[in-house]
């Protein structure tokens, strides 16, 4: 095995803690309650940074979290712990996303190993994409300078994954590439939008942080450091952008024939002064961009948020949130909102 550069120093360059107040006005609050004591962990087990949460068709909940080691937990629909998947798996080092496809396969996106893994519903590995940087050369500092050219099959701190009805795979990649990549269901490269370079034109990205595919096969991307969402068609041509909902941290598209988008203007890590006053809310919208309502606000204590990193919205009236700084997963029962109540 030819070995190249390897274990990089984790340079203490924190991501830019940007924040932006949403410019949209007059959005009604969606009344909600939360499920108390939602996830029930076995004695002695705790969640770490709960950056990723997803449900399968049975309502089982998967939490991919940054514990002492990054771990993937499965809970049943009542929140009871079922099992751990991927114990000591080489592809787990620093969780970023977990999503469940239409066949209930579980996909993890790990920004520490640059690996994306498809687990069967039973928890066995089916497909691996990307490769953990080889360790054999020891610890080498990350080379200075611009990002290396993006390669078809190499990720650079990838962030999220989605699929269209044909099973094509869409990946947002990531913190050190700035692109969205499309693969066929067997993991063969088809197309990409963006590149290793950040940009702010349509079809370019600056930290594509979250991704979902809607029922028409359009690709929704939270383009975080550009403070917007972009919607791309199935061939990754840009259709439009959404610029009035704040930072553009994470996106979720609900299941069913009438889909909704949930879009989070998450409060920034570090709770910078004044940030709680202007960020932290989640928007519910029609797929045409019409915003229907909003809920949630920042705060250390439930049911408030400490940096919502990911949402599950299989049920648009039962949104599950995973938060970074509170190490917490919450379930919000939202009062249904009808279109036309606001614009």
């Amino acid at each position: 095995m030819k070995r190249i550069l390897t274990l990089l120093f984790v340079v203490a360059a924190l991501p830019l803690m940007a924040q932006r107040k949403a410019t949209i006005e007059g959005v009604p609050d969606i009344p909600f309650t939360t499920v108390p004591n939602f996830l029930k962990l076995p004695p002695g087990e705790h969640l770490g940074e709960s950056v990723a949460v997803a449900t399968n068709s049975k309502g089982h909940i998967f939490v991919y979290h940054r514990s002492a080691n990054t771990r993937l937990f499965e809970f049943d629909q009542t929140g009871k712990f079922v099992r751990e998947i991927g114990k000591d798996y080489i592809g787990f080092e620093f969780a970023h996303s977990v999503r469940v496809d239409k066949d209930d396969n579980i996909w993890t996106v790990d920004e520490g190993t640059n690996m994306i893994t498809k687990f069967s519903p039973e928890g066995r590995i089916l497909i691996v994409m990307g490769r953990r940087p080889p360790a054999v050369a020891g610890m080498l500092p990350a080379p200075p300078g611009p990002n290396k050219p993006a390669e078809k099959y190499v990720f650079c701190r990838p962030t999220d994954i989605g699929w269209d009805a044909q099973g094509n795979i869409f990946i947002s990649d990531g913190y050190c590439n700035n692109r969205v990549v499309k693969y066929d269901k067997d993991g063969r490269f088809l197309a990409q939008a963006g590149s290793e370079k950040a940009g702010n034109a349509l079809g370019q990205f600056n930290l594509p942080h979250s991704l979902q595919v809607d029922g028409q096969g359009n690709v929704w991307v939270a383009d975080r450091s550009n403070f917007r969402y972009q919607v791309l068609d199935n061939n990754l041509k840009p259709i439009r952008e959404i610029t009035n909902l704040g930072v553009g941290w994470t996106v979720c598209i609900s299941a069913g024939p009438h889909q909704y988008a949930f879009l989070s203007n998450s409060n920034p890590n570090g709770n910078t002064p004044g940030s709680w006053d202007i960020t932290g809310e989640i928007y519910k919208a029609e797929l045409d961009g019409t915003v229907l309502g909003r809920f949630g606000k920042p705060g250390k204590l439930a049911p408030n948020f400490q940096v919502v990193h990911m949402m599950d919205c299989r049920d648009p009236n039962g949104v599950i949130t995973g938060e970074i700084e509170s190490w917490r997963v919450q379930k919000f029962l939202l009062q249904p909102v009808k279109a036309g109540s606001t614009k």
Binding site: M1, K2, I90, A135, G138, Y153, G187
Partner: protein, 328 residues
């Protein structure tokens, strides 16, 4: 070039990949498979990465630990046990091979060790030594690849034996040489350095020895197999089978050699096929291509060919072992 033409013309061999060839316990996940090898009973040994190779902080010097494990399965693919758990020398898998007496040999390219394990699962002999501690940041590799006149390895890749039990180590990623030891582990000689002339290597990723004691070395970066006599005299080279990342020679009166032109780990659209050839370099056929599906290959690093038409193939890219049955 003639080699390319031969590769393109090689006849396709029909084959199938046996689903669920290895049945892993629920809590066991193979990482990158450096090596797979069978013993005379058909037991299957897999040397794979696992978990987190780590370098400690808060110590007098930075120390490296963990990251690889050796697993044993029975001939039906049922998990038997983890062999030599928590071994000091297991960090980054290169290969595992089984010798004529069913000893299991592990080659680790981080700890620079070749570890012989007897049939009881106990340590039998060691070549090389793990560095006491790590340089942080690591030093860039230096030198011409000729290595030391000893068992001081630099990212060794493979091991093989002749009929007398002499040991040949492909010290082939950090160095670019082959080191020969007698059966008791005493250094005999070493040949090769980095280069492209006959007897030089870009790297040595795989090695095999035939019944006559000739040494076949996969010189991946130069896309050739070099053939040497038992004392390291260059005899010939085959440049028709790609990077030869994995080589296996069958036993018996009419041996064949399987050679993998493994795809690079960052590209599943090029290469990945495995050749079947005679020891004189004539290609008999080929099968497979790079990819992620069952029956496709992701950077094959080792082939076991104890049975001529039932192969075990270990993949770096797909984190798995496939059992390949060739149509005869």
């Amino acid at each position: 070039m003639a080699g390319g033409a031969a590769m393109a013309q090689a006849q396709e061999i029909g084959f199938q990949s046996v689903p669920n060839a290895l049945q892993l316990p629920a809590d066991l996940y193979l990482g990158e498979v450096g090596g797979v090898a069978t013993n005379s009973k058909g037991d299957i040994f897999v040397y794979a990465s696992s978990g987190h190779p780590s370098i400690t902080i808060g110590t007098a010097r930075p120390f490296a630990h963990g990251g690889a494990r050796l697993y044993q399965f029975d001939k039906n693919g049922k998990f038997v046990e983890e062999v030599m758990k928590n071994t000091y020398g297991f960090m980054v898998p290169a290969k595992v091979r089984v010798d004529a007496a069913d000893n299991v040999w592990v080659v680790d390219e981080f700890t620079n060790m070749v570890i012989k394990i007897d049939t009881k699962g106990d340590l039998a002999m060691l070549l090389g030594r793990k560095a006491e501690s790590e340089n942080v940041p690591a030093r860039e590799p230096r030198g011409d690849g000729a290595g030391a006149q000893s068992d001081l390895f630099n990212q060794p890749q493979d091991v093989a034996w002749d009929a007398q039990g002499n040991i040949f180590v492909a010290d082939g990623a950090g160095n670019a040489r082959i080191a020969k030891f007698d059966k008791d582990g005493k250094f005999v000689k070493s040949w090769g350095k980095r280069g492209s002339a006959p007897g030089e290597f870009a790297n040595v990723l795989s090695i095999a020895v035939d019944a006559q004691g000739n040494v076949y070395a996969g010189d991946g970066g130069n896309k050739r197999i070099q053939v040497f006599d038992n004392n390291g005299m260059f005899k010939t080279a085959y440049s028709n089978v790609g990077n030869a990342q994995a080589i296996c020679i069958t036993k018996g009166a009419n041996p064949v050699m399987y050679v993998s032109n493994s795809n690079a780990s960052n590209d599943i659209d090029t290469g990945g096929e495995i050749y079947r050839m005679r020891l004189d370099g004539t290609i008999v056929g080929k099968f497979g291509r790079a990819g992620k599906r069952l029956g496709e290959f992701g950077t094959v690093n080792e082939i076991d060919c104890r049975s001529e038409n039932t192969l075990y193939v270990g993949e770096v890219g797909n984190l798995r072992v496939q059992k390949i049955v060739l149509r005869q």
